[in-house]
């Protein structure tokens, strides 16, 4: 039997009234991958994760975790999650919160072990109320480790944390991921995706706009941007030029992302009426903006 995919999302669509939060999204994760789910706020990351965890029912499509329905995968401890909007009881201590959660599983790791692994062993007897945002997040992480899940989902796990909190949190995750767990984390911090993922899935308006290894996404970002004033530009002619990854129009300007700016510049200056031509290099930030901006088009980078 072929080993089941860690995550298998097929044609997921979810609408909230007139808004399509997730639009025919498919995504497969192999076991052992560490994947960043990257996109601006409102891109559909949380809705997708909610469907992956069975917290929201998709209008169309299916979600499977290690071949199981999400609710079944949760009940068996195959998957656990650190969610940004899940609450904690203020009058439990850290240890009680973990012990309570541990008691709900058929098999759970020892409470002290997960407290240590999440780096909160020293505050085990503190009331949740008295814990900082970062400490509460590591508490959620400790709870997520209890079932020793094969898949760990982190939904914007460091939102609202200070720099030190983010660093501590990721160092705990990184230590843990070394054991070969599949990890999928949603974030809108590029540096987090860059530092911790070996694959990046970019999502915008409920659609995957780029999916590739971190290196591939960086490649995409390593190109240059050629910008020129050219009313009524022939976009199709630009798109077929060698090395062009992305073309867009802003007002009278045309913006071309490409790996070889010489070809594009030569074409624009010799075959069109383009003027005010500028060439600049692109970074990951710019690629992110280009791929997730409102008027961006989808680009396939993992062929």
């Amino acid at each position: 039997m072929e080993p089941a995919l860690a995550v298998d999302l097929r044609n997921l669509t979810k609408r909230f009234g007139p808004v399509t939060a997730v639009n025919n999204l498919s995504l497969q994760l192999e076991s052992g991958e560490i994947v960043a789910f990257l996109g601006p706020n409102g891109a559909g990351k949380t809705t997708t994760i909610d469907m992956l965890l069975g917290l929201t029912r998709p209008d169309v499509g299916t979600a499977r975790v290690y071949g199981r329905l999400p609710a079944d995968a949760i009940a068996r401890g195959e998957v656990s999650a650190v969610m940004q909007n899940s609450g904690l009881l203020k009058d439990f201590t850290v240890r009680e919160t973990v012990a309570y959660t541990a008691s709900l599983y058929a098999h759970a790791r020892p409470v002290n072990e997960v407290l240590e692994r999440a780096g909160i062993g020293s505050i085990a007897d503190r009331r949740v109320q008295k814990c900082s945002g970062g400490e509460q997040q590591r508490l959620r992480f400790a709870m997520a480790l209890l079932s020793d899940p094969r898949l760990l989902i982190l939904d914007e796990p460091t939102t609202g944390m200070d720099v030190q909190g983010r660093r501590d949190f990721w160092s705990a995750i990184r230590k843990d991921a070394a054991q070969g767990r599949t990890v999928m984390f949603a974030t809108h911090y590029l540096d987090e995706a860059d530092a911790y993922a070996d694959r990046i899935v970019l999502i915008r308006q409920g659609v995957v706009v780029a999916d590739g290894t971190t290196a591939e996404i960086k490649n995409l970002a390593s190109g240059r941007v050629v910008r020129a004033t050219l009313p009524g530009a022939n976009l199709d002619a630009l798109k077929v030029l060698s090395g062009v990854t992305h073309v867009e129009v802003r007002g009278e300007a045309v913006i071309v992302n490409c790996t070889n700016s010489d070809i594009v510049a030569r074409y624009l200056l010799t075959s069109t009426d383009a003027r005010d031509l500028e060439i600049s290099s692109m970074n990951l930030e710019a690629a992110f903006v280009a791929l997730t901006g409102d008027d961006a088009e989808a680009v396939e980078v993992s062929q």
Partner: protein, 259 residues
């Protein structure tokens, strides 16, 4: 990459939808640590008992039977506040997002509700036991049969308020739900004859009282002492428990469908 070798050979679904006594024990401990809850279920009912039952000495002091009567009434009052608070805890947990956190665990929603009801019943037990112990230590003498039957009736019939608490808890997702419910409970307690004897009310009020949810509990808890075990009282408890349970279940269904 290959699948990580960190998993037990077979991953099992927990029995009873995740219901277990460890979680129940932690829940009860947490509720009993809450000062406000303790105030309402331990301190106030005993305080009222002293105030109404023991404050007058000398020739105008109430008869021993009336003191026992007041003790039972205050036990019922404590139990109804305790079980309501236990049930209404779902409101706090929903407003804090704890229910959503629990959706990430194997705990089945029905098992969660069962734990809430049992926690509520433990709080009710503590409330009744406290007032009865305070009564016994302060000279209440009744037949052993009355101690046992009144205790059981006051405690077990407060299930109606565990259901009421759940109903309110699923209706109002608020951290301060007990602030709305507290005054309502006091009014209901009055119609249940807990603070003043029902016979002291005008006849119309006495009739209305029979249809309110504390009436049955009060009648049944006092019956071992003064009689008054009627089918109306039994039906009152059964009907209100049923109504609140159905209401809570409908709201609970709506709730789990939405999350």
């Amino acid at each position: 990459m290959t699948a990580p070798d960190i998993t037990p050979p077979e991953r099992l679904v927990p029995p009873l939808g995740g219901f277990n006594v460890t979680a129940l024990g932690l829940e009860v401990r947490r509720m009993l640590r809450n000062r406000r809850t303790l105030m309402f279920i331990v301190v106030f009912p005993s305080l009222f008992f002293f105030l109404f039952g023991l404050s007058t000495r000398g020739p105008r002091a109430p008869s021993p039977e009336i003191v026992a009567f007041i003790m039972i009434n205050m036990a019922v009052y404590g139990a109804m506040v305790g079980t309501t608070a236990g049930g209404a805890a779902v409101a706090v947990e929903r407003s804090l997002g704890w229910s959503r956190q629990l959706r990430l665990t194997p705990l089945r929603p029905a098992a969660y509700v069962v734990m809430k009801v049992l926690t509520a019943m433990v709080l009710g037990f503590v409330a009744v036991a406290t007032v009865f112990i305070v009564g016994a230590l302060n000279g209440v003498h009744v037949a052993p049969r009355v101690w046992v039957l009144s205790f059981l009736a006051a405690w077990l019939c407060s299930l109606v308020f565990a259901a009421f608490g759940l109903f309110v808890g699923f209706l109002l997702p608020s951290e301060n739900v007990m602030q709305f419910v507290g005054p309502l409970l006091a009014i209901l307690a009055m119609f249940g004859g807990l603070f003043i004897p029902l016979s002291a009310l005008p006849p119309v009020m006495q009739t209305i009282a029979k249809f309110t949810p504390v009436y049955g509990v009060g009648q049944l808890a006092r019956a071992p002492l003064v009689g008054g075990f009627t089918s109306v009282a039994v039906f009152n408890v059964a009907a209100w428990t049923f109504l609140f349970a159905i209401g809570a279940m409908l709201l609970f269904r709506r709730d789990t469908a939405r999350v």
